[in-house]
Symmetry: C2
Subunit: 154 residues, 2 copies
């Protein structure tokens, strides 16, 4: 039956893509039509306290230049702002704007809703098992393992 090893990665990717697509469709409906898939990850990585381009690059596993460019784009569309650090004038703090905060909050809520939909379809037990299995097969700290770096170079 499902002994074809090619199916597993494909289904994992498809499932991810579906969730992301649904997220963005809903975000667009809720007033965030310009959000791109990367941005959610980046804003999550910036966090409520802000960060700097270099630090952000380290967190995401990309170069500071790449992080800087992404911050440029986020700044251009009003999701983050840069302020100079008074205690170290080399640094520039990158922080989410209220608009960015709003997008992040909505993303979290939408993801919860999507998970609920999956639970309704598969049953809470099966979904818990699925998450548990994936957790077992993937690294512990999902965050800082160059996800976006990998996105791009795909």
């Amino acid at each position: 039956m499902s002994s074809n090893g090619f199916e597993l990665p494909l289904r994992l990717l498809l499932a991810f893509k579906m969730l992301i697509d649904e997220l963005h469709a809903e975000l667009a409906r809720e007033g965030h039509p310009d959000i791109r898939p990367m941005y959610g990850f980046v804003m999550q990585a910036i966090g409520p306290d802000g960060t700097t381009a270099v630090e952000l690059g380290r967190t995401l596993g990309v170069t500071k230049q790449a992080a800087g460019k992404t911050v440029d784009n986020l700044e251009r569309i009003g999701y983050v702002e840069r302020t100079t650090d008074p205690r170290d004038s080399r640094r520039k703090l990158v922080r989410l704007t209220p608009h960015g905060m709003d997008a992040l909050d909505r993303s979290a809520r939408i993801f919860d809703t999507l998970r609920t939909r999956w639970a309704a379809e598969l049953g809470e037990d099966r979904l818990n098992a699925l998450e548990s299995d994936l957790r077992r097969m993937t690294p512990d700290n999902p965050w800082r393992l160059d996800i976006p770096g990998w996105f791009g170079t795909l």
Copy 2:
């Protein structure tokens, strides 16, 4: 516990990334160091009978230009070759070279091995359940639903 909806997409992506990374590490070891993640999908989509750039684009859900560029790259590193169709001199048949065939064969074998490793870790039953659940949540024909198109624009 895991009621955080953000974890599901992240784990799906991480799991996919891990499989792909392991695939490429092994492919590199077996004489295919230049393969990029996209190429596997593209070669799979080309198939043993070959195709054309336009058709490939349709299959993958990207423009014919994008498909053409990717074929250029695959041609440059010797995985595919272009021959003109004698029956329609507008068309150029894209076919896998023996080198490309070899890469595709090895990919299939490696994916099977990786799946076996997952089965050893999770148990065959749990893995079957996982695949079944993913199958249930994703489109039927996984193939022609703009996977790569989505890759790039991420």
